[in-house]
């Protein structure tokens, strides 16, 4: 098959037989690392993620999360380098290491700083939300987490821009960045260079509205907005 090269990236190749008619929510292997010290919340978030077709690893502390990612200074990663994490969702209030501290560690790592981190908290404190976003968090969810929260997250991060037939997990943000460097194929990462023309076409429409959009300065200043807009300057 012409796509053999792509298949070597996949752990679950059986999903890619008969790819026609597969919906994005069924076929991609989004791996989420969920971090929460509450057993009840871990069980719920795990189920919420699984029901939206995500693969989940749930850990009970920031320390364990770092160990899993191989970022813990004390314990070296035991052959986890192949395990891709597409999203990290963490509780804010945890004993030992808070979600905020975990966020900083992740954003400070060259390997994982591109992985979107979402913070969950039962406390809807603006200052807290702001500091998390400033530190690079993708989103902030107020607990209790609902199915609609998880669906929304998954959709805007891994949703509509999925390449049909490739079945590859592509982070929408990265896709937007890639469309800007697609003019210089040598510099684009391998995963993006295999984009079918159709999909890059669907994206090329997005930069133009942005460049002419009358977005207010304050929205441009917001960290999440910056994240999405930086690479779309034409």
């Amino acid at each position: 098959m012409a796509r053999d090269g792509m298949f070597s990236r996949w752990r679950r190749t059986e999903k890619f037989e008969g790819m026609s008619g597969l919906s994005p929510s069924d076929c991609h292997d989004v791996h989420v690392l969920a971090v929460d010290d509450s057993l009840v919340d871990r069980k719920v978030i795990e189920r919420l993620l699984k029901i939206t077709s995500c693969k989940v690893t749930a850990v009970d502390s920031g320390r364990r999360a770092l160990q899993f990612l191989g970022l813990d200074e004390e314990k070296s990663s035991v052959g986890f380098d192949g395990l891709k994490v597409d999203l990290i969702i963490t509780d804010y209030c945890m004993p030992g290491m808070t979600g905020y501290e975990l966020l900083k560690k992740i954003k400070g790592s060259s390997t994982f700083r591109e992985v979107p981190v979402v913070i969950m908290s039962s406390e809807n404190v603006l200052a807290r939300i702001d500091s998390c976003l400033e530190e690079g968090a993708e989103d902030f969810i107020v607990k209790p987490v609902k199915l609609s929260d998880v669906k929304r997250l998954k959709d805007y991060m891994f949703g509509e821009d999925l390449i049909q037939g490739e079945g590859q997990v592509v982070n929408k943000r990265k896709l937007q960045e890639a469309c800007e460097i697609s003019s210089s194929p040598s510099s684009s990462p391998p995963s993006i260079s295999s984009l079918s023309p159709l999909s890059s076409q669907s994206l090329s429409s997005s930069p133009s509205p942005r460049s002419s959009s009358p977005s207010s300065p304050s929205s441009l200043d917001s960290p999440t907005r910056r994240l999405k807009m930086t690479n779309c300057d034409t």
């Binding site: 509450s38 009840v40 189920r47 004993p95 039962s122 607990k143 209790p144 609902k146």
Partner: protein, 151 residues
């Protein structure tokens, strides 16, 4: 009791729990996460909640019993309980925790002790209600019926 009657009883009972504020829409969320592949999800989560709460209530009792009360610790426990009760939709327990936390902030031992009593009461109530609900579910299933989706 035949299946139809049991199902009606179940529906009415569930509705009353929402009406009386014992449960809120987060409980409905949990019910929606249950399906044939995970038929016991709600019972499992609620059981975890019961275990977790019982431990927390013991810890709280001990903490408030100390000569010198560590309010930070007490608050941490209440925060945890508030979180888990909120996650399963145990509204009245959650609300009791909110009041409790205010008194922790004030470092008012007496008021905290009263709050703890209140939380224990609310927990006991909701536990009984949920146990009854799950028993009803079981009876329906044993009678060969399907558990109605409520809410």
């Amino acid at each position: 009791m035949e299946v139809g009657q049991l199902q009606r009883k179940f529906v009415d009972y569930t509705a009353s729990l929402f009406c009386e504020g014992f449960l809120d829409e987060q409980f409905t969320q949990l019910q929606q996460l249950q399906d044939e592949s995970n038929p016991d999800f709600v019972v499992e989560v609620v059981s975890l909640f019961f275990e977790d709460t019982e431990k927390l209530l013991n810890d709280l009792t001990r903490a408030l019993d100390q000569q010198s009360v560590d309010f930070k610790k007490v608050d941490a426990h209440v925060h945890q309980l508030k979180g888990s009760s909120s996650s399963i939709g145990a509204q009245r327990v959650r609300n009791a925790c909110i009041a409790f936390r205010n008194f922790c902030e004030e470092q008012n031992t007496d008021a905290c002790s009263k709050c703890l009593l209140q939380v224990k009461q609310e927990y006991s109530l909701v536990k009984n209600k949920l146990d009854t609900l799950f028993r009803l579910e079981q009876q329906i299933v044993e009678a060969g019926g399907a558990v109605p989706m409520v809410g």
